[in-house]
């Protein structure tokens, strides 16, 4: 619960849309502007807020919110 809420907050801020409702199934295709550069920024923000560091291979494998949550899980 709290992890999804944290990510929802982050997504709403980064994509500046406070109606954005994300689920683990939400993917690149569902959010306008979630391109490769946005992905790098998103990952950097998650890393910095949670104090973790992903592997490069993990970053490139992230296609959805669920993928991101699993990657966070692995490091926390």
């Amino acid at each position: 619960m709290s992890q999804l809420a944290f990510l929802q907050r982050l997504f709403r801020e980064i994509f500046e849309d406070d109606t954005l409702a994300i689920t683990p199934e939400t993917s690149h295709a569902d959010i306008e502007g979630w391109d490769s550069i946005a992905q790098v920024k998103l990952v950097l923000a998650v890393e910095s807020e949670l104090g973790i560091r992903f592997e490069s291979t993990e970053i490139s494998a992230i296609q959805s919110v669920g993928d991101l949550m699993r990657a966070i899980e692995k490091h926390s």
């Binding site: 709290s2 980064i14 500046e16 950097l44 490069s56």
Partner: protein, 716 residues
Amino acid sequence: MSVAKPAFTGELVSYLLDSASDASLVSEALRLLAASGRPFAVDAADTMADVLESRTSAPEARSALLLALSESDRPAARYVQARLLAAWGKVEEAITAISATLGSLPASEPALLAARARWLVKQKRFAEAGVDLRAAFDTHPAYSFYVRTERLLEKVVSAKAIKSRRTIRLALLSSSTTGLLAPVLRAACFTRGIELELYEGVYGSYRQEVLDPTSGLYRFRPDAVVFLVNSHDLDLPPRGGAQQVEAFCQELRELWSALQAKNPCHIVQVGFESPAGGAWGSLEDSLPDGRRRMIAHANELLLRELPTGVSFLNVDVLAPGVPLESLQEWHASRQFPRADALPLFADAICAQLRAAVGLSSKVLVLDLDNTLWGGVIGEDGLGGIRIGPPTAEGEAHRALQLYAKELQARGVLLAVCSKNNLADAQAPFQSHADMVLKLDDFVSFKANWEDKATNLVAMAKELSLGLDSFVFLDDNPVERSWIRSQVPEVTVPDGGTTPWALLASLQRGMYFDSVALTSEDLERKQSYAATAALQQVQQSGASLEGFLQGLNMVATHGPVDANTIARVTQLVNKTNQFNVTTRRYSAEQVKQFAESPEWWCRWFRLADRFGDHGLIGTIFARIEGDTWFVDTWLMSCRVLGRHLEEFMCGQLLTAAAARGALSVVGEYLPTDKNAMAADLFPRMGFANDVTPGRFRFELATQQPLPAPWIQSRTEG
């Protein structure tokens, strides 16, 4: 002030547990409890607000929860309350609640400022949102903050509610990716009043961009270009490689001149970083051709005879002791410097851009008690304040004074604004042996009991300088936030409260950066002191004529040439008040005008009995057949009120007549700041032209006004 308050967290925890037990919720509450270093754990409070929001849906339950929160006086409670109010559509009330939190904190908290900015944007209060974002960026937050506020800032900027001081079209040409740098650079420039239009070249293709006349770079027509290279480009072995270093630097220098020939602009050349952890270790420094030595050699080659219009950015000073590169980021996305060094890097670029266009800060206004010395002079007395050894605190205050003195030595003006009795405030400067600064180091000294915003406004008027050129350094967070709210144009470093933190905030801020040192920078203080003396003479009621006569003014003038381009460009870019057209030109453009037979570009210097004021005015006229058009005419505010304008105009008209012109045409382009130049041409005898806003002087029938108080000397 510390942290999450146990009592408040406990209240919430029990409330939450009553509603339904949830382990992660408890752990969030515990994180809030354990938070330290910040006023409270904002992220934990966010999570709480989210959870509370999602499980409180009945209107009665919502009211009860808001009431419970409003009964606590903890900042975190106000904040959670504000979040809930916003989520439930009561945005104005949310703004009120979060303002209460912000008002109760000792320092600016960027996350809270950003939250309020978001709600202000929702209410279309863009200007206030901009002030909040600026204050947040001034705390130098971590990289992720810039990511989280990038689009919010876009909204604020595109609403055009905040007037920027200047728009700069900046191109980034680099051998690394720039996508992560862009948002931080925009934020850094926004914070200092510059609106950035950005062009990002494809990484690694900067040579093509410069050499191909049809490239996107030239279509963009940049005002400034950053060349961002790094030590990977040199591809050096542990030792040797002098030839490739020399070839690389030679090529860069050729790219600068190719670029400036096609598109005059300011160039910021980023130097090569000195990489840490080379395989050959100390040998990379000690061998004459060791890798780090070769990199230093490369920087030396770039710096040698740096051409006009190029400034060098030394990246090694940005993050001393920390590698500027993350190899993982480099391999994964060709990112350089590493993301968390970008805020500092962006500020350094912004500082050079500001310097290049003449928007660097000009005045450092200093508080006294616990800023320039430790203790309170009115209470502790001369013997009780700490300045210099033996206390560490005293040494730090002395170091801060030395720093201010060094700033002054290159043209930054110093002033004092303190809540004190004047005599108390002046005593240490007059009779404390350990003081570095003396009374005559300050161009303005305000020690009284009026509020500091009023004092700053008066000071700006006295010095004829804009408040946006002021930096206000004060250890007291209450004074800092007062100035921020009352005179938002003033830059207020957000350091801590110790002398070390204050000094660090000045160093970190890079407010006074300069890309060229002119002799006027070195003499500036005397001129402003003279201006203040002149005001006194004028107020004493002496006759204007006698007063001007007694000044013994000598004006020297000559054509703009290689020796004067730097100073003329500085004036062209920073003069706001006595400036008829406020056209801004790069050094390269000024050079082109100066060398063209179709232009007449003249500089003017003034000396009087107060001293030499240096090069303080310039006129550019464009020659079209028998008509001269005054493209630019400006004068530094240091020499206002001396009737130098009649003299300058006389030189212009005489030169035009001597070259066979029939008429001289001037125009006035109004801005917020140049009202004093509105009637300049009519005052000089120009008549209204058929084209509105233009004025014409007929050389055949009219005579220039005399300038009897000024003696003329021609040079060149």
